[in-house]
Symmetry: C2
Subunit: 590 residues, 2 copies
């Protein structure tokens, strides 16, 4: 009977000393627990995602091998399975294998190499790694036969994926020829909407079909736009879940006879994502989204050595949700919300900003920017008159000026204070169509909600008001008023222009985004498509066409902004984040 | 005897209609010339680089196949070889082959698929393409036997690259089993320092060794950080160059009996790059660099629909070189140089900026920013006093404020004027160590010199002063004074602080960059390294160590800036441009 530790660690790419340290601590703890086996994630000593660092900084690999050897010396009376980048030492091959080593009694007794190398979306395995050809061997421990696979090698099950398999071979099938009684899967698997459902169903079906125990160990934590939910687990030979580690945080989960504690999944995370139709029902995905966003803020700040955040509070939805997330991730005392009203900011917006800050208990300032805007307008007037433009032609210039002055103030505050970052509050819907100001609201050290659409943000705000200990932090007024940047006045109504007036209804926009990302829809497809929006509102053919055209034109012009977007976290199923999807600036897609 | 056209075109990624149009026009022209054969570059109908666009926007591929069929119909009395993305229609394979079709008399008579798929630096072929297994067939035309290969398939010659081959097989060797008398190479090969020398030597040696004519057709133009120099050519069976098309522009080069016009190469482009030692002698690479930078500006503006540029003129080297390049690429009437002196800007700098503009003949304005800075300082003072910082602690805050106000003015000018972009003037040396202000000098629609180091910029300025028709556009004073942002005063000397005082000598910094990029040097390597700088200056062990440490720390902190850098062009051998090299923000490399 084996005692097994699933070491769900949170390493840092290239920080070999740090990663090695936490690995050693985990081994020490496992020994204290008298565990027989401890399992670490894929590429645990290296940390993931590592981008191209070991192509240019090759010393990292040597350090990694040195540390692997040191770790090996610690495996007296325990067996450890650990992922690392193994040099191929053959110029005609890729420089490394993506391998897992089995360490026992001070020796490396086995090395298993990854065969299937994902090279889509956020994955670039084939850029660095040579695909393994040989079948993995197995190792025995207290009568149990363990076979190891690395991440993607478990994701080509032909009975499960049927005609959606991405590769020709199934490494699990090959491994089963050696008749292991337990499969160990070392992974670095980023979280996404609907992914947990697939993993659970897949691993369970493999365990049941092959009558093996199935142990999955995943990295936890966030780095460079990717969040890893951990959620390591074990299935028994009937395919039943017998252990589940924590989600969105590190864990040290102990299994005795393949059984252990089953931690709760964030609500809805086990649900299948419905991609048959678009709808506005996000409820199954809000707790996961929240935990995903919080983990990302914590790790982005923590791993980069920052502790505090400063953001502009407009009294609108985007900055309000950002403020709640920051307060929860960094602690309310570490967040500064600054209201920076101009002459056209409404009293209501000012009050909403203040009320939000007060409910959250974050630091709050109001810095009115009337005089400064006037001085800068004068400066621009003087400039334009010298290049033969007597007066402002475009209201955009003044709108952007306000946004840029606000960002200048936020960056200055962060310059002046230690370990503080300014926050870019742009959301996904607005970034998609470029409704965000360069050097303005889309500028910052981090962009918490850049992958959350507006309609989902409304649902998230509602969820936060109900879910958090302090209820209703986001004032009701913010949830009820139409979103808008309050940067200009509609001359007819005398009111500030709301975003939907300038663009299109968010419900319509978010459906466009969803079909482009999920189904690859183009202009023609949308013309013949019945929008969910149309089931609730009357919509003329002309208006519909105008909005579809506007969407494609605006998103075409927005690609530049996607390229200079601050770091964020991917949380949707698909994104415009360069870590996953790269659209060239000079290109045409419709 | 065949008449052959090398159609060195400049397509746009995903703009199938446009690309198809220029292909059709070239075929029409070739027919008028009574050519037997016309050859287009790799992936000519698709345009390159295309990023991930056809993973999300699959309709592009259908359009491409439709256009290929239309183009095929135009091949009565002519044969065309053309690169395209060919669907594999097999989920267990990558979605496409990177193929070249042979079109003849309205039919596709042959398709050749790329075997070696580069997936390093700027190349991501394996992300989209299935490597071909089968050996290519050949086609006959007027008694000549043509074999086709696609780009990388010609780059694994074991006699040439010896133990530096990246792949196991050599497609040229395989192709030779079919005994072609001529090899056609369809390519999309970005330009780099020293690359032309290798290509020339390689192609010539293949032609000579196998006793074949060798025709190389490359794309011309720029898109998304990559420049393609064209420079298509033919070698005869003795390995002698018998035709060479233009460099850094489109061409329609005609060969009769494998012979045609040999265009000049930009000076030094044929030279081998010396990577045995670092030196400050850039002369062999300046004309290529200049043409590379100019092409990039032209195409970035032109392909995105912009015509004019506005930039801040500080009277320093970076902005001066940018101004010259912009004037040459866009025409002097399309460039606005704005001098924005603060209270601490020296009279000399103001005069130098003015003199430069006048010599170039670009539009010039001087907008002093004294009052505005005071107002913003007051705003910040007011803000800081409310968060318990009574006065400015960090001079950086004020320095950055000036840079950000200047960028705000430039963005406002571009907002207000049609088809105008503001320019980010940061250079590579300064970006490497983060000596550039976010939302300040590193903000803009385009960054012309982000891949040119400071010492090379000095050489380039000197070259421009001699090479351009209007001599000495960059005032001598700019070339002689030490670079500095003129953002703060040294309290001891009363003068503005120069950059080398704050950082380290540029000659030292540029050597650090060179060894990191070229040799993968780490901290330890540099400690034992004798710097070129040391052969000319006395340098204490302590000072040397301090600079090396400072470099690694500052470049570690600068990675965020590399991620939000505006589009630029790669021109050096290696770069920090994300199109080629991706270092995660959360990482450690030393």
């Amino acid at each position: 009977m084996n005692k097994i530790v699933l070491a769900q660690i949170n390493p840092i790419a290239g920080n070999i000393e740090y990663n090695s340290q936490i690995i050693k601590e985990n081994i020490k703890k496992a020994k204290e627990e008298k565990a027989d086996l401890i399992i670490f994630p894929e590429l645990a000593i290296m940390g993931y995602p590592f981008g191209d660092i070991f192509m240019r900084h090759k010393t990292i690999i040597n350090k990694q091998i040195e540390e692997l050897n040191k770790i090996t010396h610690l495996t007296k009376n325990i067996t450890a399975v650990i992922g690392f980048a193994e040099p191929t030492e053959d110029s005609e091959k890729k420089p490394y294998y993506n391998s897992a080593a089995v360490l026992q009694n001070g020796k490396i007794i086995n090395i298993v190499r990854k065969k299937l190398l994902p090279n889509y979306c956020e994955f670039n395995d084939y850029r660095y790694f040579e695909p393994a050809k040989e079948t993995s061997e197995i190792f025995e421990l207290n009568g149990e036969k363990f076979g190891i696979i690395v991440c993607e090698d478990s994701f080509n099950d032909k009975l499960f994926f049927k005609n959606e398999c991405l590769y020709q071979t199934d490494p699990i099938e090959e491994l089963m020829k050696h008749k292991p009684s337990t499969i160990i899967n070392c992974s670095c698997s980023p979280t996404r909407n609907g992914k947990e459902y697939i993993k659970n169903a897949l691993f369970s079906s493999i365990a049941k079909r092959y009558k093996v125990n199935y142990i999955y160990v995943n990295q936890a934590g966030y780095a460079d736009n990717l969040a890893f939910d951990g959620t390591s687990r074990i299935y028994n030979k009937k395919g039943e879940l017998t252990l589940r580690a924590k989600s969105f945080e590190e864990d040290f989960a102990i299994a005795v006879d393949f059984k252990g504690k089953i931690e709760n999944l964030p609500k809805g995370m086990d649900k299948k994502q419905d991609i048959s139709v678009f709808n506005l029902n996000y409820k199954n995905d809000l707790e996961r989204t929240y935990k995903n966003l919080i983990l990302a803020i914590k790790d982005y700040f923590g791993k980069n050595g920052f502790k505090k955040a400063v953001l502009g509070l407009s009294g609108g939805l985007d900055s309000s949700v950002c403020a709640v997330l920051l307060a929860d991730a960094l602690g309310k005392d570490n967040v500064w919300g600054i209201s920076m009203p101009s002459k056209i900011t409404s009293k209501e917006s000012k009050n909403d900003a203040k009320e939000l800050a007060s409910k959250l208990g974050i630091n709050f300032l109001e810095i009115p920017l009337a005089e400064e805007i006037d001085v800068l307008k004068k400066m621009l007037g003087n400039t334009f008159s010298q290049i033969n433009t007597e007066k402002f032609e475009k209201s955009t210039t003044i709108e952007n000026l306000q946004a840029r002055l606000r960002a200048t103030l936020l960056w200055s505050v962060s310059n002046e204070h230690k370990q503080m970052l300014p926050i870019a509050t742009s959301d996904k819907s607005e970034l998609y169509i470029g409704y965000a100001t360069i050097n303005g609201d889309m500028s910052g050290g981090y962009a918490p909600i850049a992958d959350v659409t507006k309609t989902k943000l409304f649902a998230l705000a509602d969820f936060l008001n109900k879910y958090r200990k302090e209820k209703n932090a986001v004032p009701k007024a913010i949830l009820e008023k139409p979103p808008g940047a309050e940067l200009k006045i509609n001359q007819k109504t005398g009111k500030t222009v709301c975003a939907e007036e300038e663009n299109m209804p968010y419900e319509f926009l978010d459906e466009l985004i969803w079909f482009v990302e999920t189904k690859g829809f183009g202009y023609e497809d949308f013309l013949n498509h019945k929008f969910y929006y149309e089931t609730k509102h009357k919509l003329s053919r002309e208006q519909k066409e105008e909005w579809i055209k506007k969407f494609f034109w605006k998103s075409h012009c927005a690609v530049y902004k996607w390229h200079i977007l601050p770091p964020s976290v991917i949380t949707d199923s698909h994104s415009i984040n360069l870590a996953e999807y790269r659209q060239p600036i000079i290109s045409k897609v419709n």
